[in-house]
């Protein structure tokens, strides 16, 4: 058993705020799939917001502290690995890890705020932060998934959409681009690998790491709608039936702006949007409701039936 396979069997789970709200289906499906795969997931007790975009834009060092507190909590609760399925949370925890190691001012602010709050100050290296894709890829892997598939995704064409925060900036992800079996920052493939093992056909999708306009969604909705519409149309032009997502912000943006594009621009697209954990769960024989498919904006069940997955 590889080091990662053993290490990631039991992880601290950091769902983050989005997974309690608009991304609830991702929370539900991640937990359900983890349980089905026999992986041990423990939600961090008393976790807080990672600082997301709002705090980071105003005070980046406060965001570093907020993210560091979650890693400190995980460590205090006996874990060496934090699994964050949300790209924003994953990115922010990785960034905090990097900043605390390389930026004295960040370290000073984190130490001061931790003391004021009355808890230990997180030291870099205390825990390892991973994404849900790392978790499944390194524990169960493609062979393990193939063994568990009951409803093959065969016949389903998928455009895997990673968004822009999963791989950028490259310097906060030192474990990526390290050769075979590691993730690529220029051409990410972990989601492709996992869903292909579940029987899906991945289409060539050139916008897999392009910006979805999530940061603009409140300040400039029209720009977000145009960016999303272009992604949806590119997925359709690639022949995809469904876009697989691994980020709640991207996912809700794609779904909401798909509706908005039809209403405001009069352009209808029919490609479905599902979390990769939902697709994986369905492939493993779980009921769509168990992985929260009914919580998505668009109804994917008819398409899954039409493709023979259900």
């Amino acid at each position: 058993m590889s080091d990662k396979k053993a290490k990631y069997q039991k992880v601290a789970y950091y769902p983050g705020c989005a997974l309690e709200g608009t991304g609830h289906a991702y929370n539900r499906s991640t937990k359900a799939v983890g349980k089905e795969l026999g992986l041990d997931l423990h939600e961090i007790k008393n976790w807080n917001c990672c600082g997301a975009m709002e705090v980071k834009n105003i005070d980046p060092k406060l965001q570093t502290y907020l993210s560091a507190r979650n890693m400190q909590l995980a460590q205090d609760q006996g874990f060496d690995t934090v699994m964050a399925p949300c790209n924003g949370c994953y990115h922010n925890l990785k960034k905090a890890e990097y900043d605390l190691e390389h930026d004295d001012a960040s370290k000073e602010v984190n130490g001061r705020l931790s003391a004021k709050a009355g808890h230990g100050s997180y030291e870099p290296g205390g825990v390892e932060t991973i994404h849900a894709l790392d978790w499944i890829k390194h524990t169960v892997g493609e062979d393990g998934i193939r063994d568990r598939v009951k409803n093959s995704l065969s016949g389903l064409k998928i455009a895997n959409y990673y968004g822009c925060m999963y791989t950028r900036p490259r310097h906060i992800f030192p474990e990526k681009d390290q050769g075979p079996d590691t993730e690529s920052t220029s051409e990410p493939h972990f989601m492709d690998d996992i869903l292909e093992a579940a029987g899906a056909e991945n289409v060539d999708f050139p916008l897999k790491t392009a910006c979805c306009g999530g940061a603009h969604t409140l300040s400039d909705s029209d720009m977000s709608t145009k960016l999303v519409l272009n992604i949806l149309q590119a997925a359709e032009a690639s022949g995809a039936d469904v876009i697989a997502t691994e980020c709640p912000t991207c996912h809700s943006g794609l779904e909401m702006h798909q509706v908005r594009a039809e209403k405001t621009l009069g352009v209808k697209t029919s490609v479905k949007i599902m979390y990769f954990t939902q697709l994986l769960g369905v492939a493993m024989g779980m009921k769509p409701k168990k992985v929260g498919v009914h919580e998505n904006v668009s109804d994917s069940v008819p398409m899954l039936k039409e493709k023979g997955v259900l």
Partner: protein, 139 residues
């Protein structure tokens, strides 16, 4: 310098995939370059004439990303545009050439939308025309 509205119109014209593939690929690459030139101009920088890995688009991206890591959010978009340029140019009579032009036009459109959003965010321009400093200078 061509405004973003005109560039978008050029993209619309190519989006049907009916244009001559080799010519369309060159036009799309040029649109990408003009988008990045606009960004650099808006920041008071002289767009480079250099090439990186044989492409000016990649050199322009590297110039724009210097000191602005968030600009790397369009790095792969630029590289995909170059990839599709190569794909189309190396075999313009391929059965899928028309489809490839359509996809390349979507990639170029994403670059345009992303940069125009960043210009707006930086209060340096409008979606449909040149940048604020250029207008302020009477350009």
């Amino acid at each position: 310098m061509t405004g973003f509205a005109d560039l978008e119109a050029d993209l619309d014209a190519l989006a049907g995939g009916q244009a001559d593939p080799a010519n369309a690929a060159a036009v799309l690459l040029s649109i990408g370059e003009q988008v990045l030139e606009t960004w650099l101009d808006a920041h008071g920088k002289q767009p480079t004439a250099d090439k990186k890995e044989g492409f000016r688009l990649l050199a322009l991206h590297r110039q724009a990303a210097k000191g602005d890591p968030s600009f790397n959010a369009c790095r792969e978009t630029c590289r995909e545009l170059v990839y599709y340029f190569n794909l189309i140019s190396l075999d313009p009579t391929h059965d899928d050439a028309g489809k490839r032009v359509v996809m390349a036009s979507m990639i170029a459109r994403h670059l345009l939308l992303f940069i125009s959003g960043k210009l707006q965010e930086a209060e340096l321009g409008e979606f449909c025309c040149a940048s604020k400093p250029l207008r302020a200078a009477g350009g």
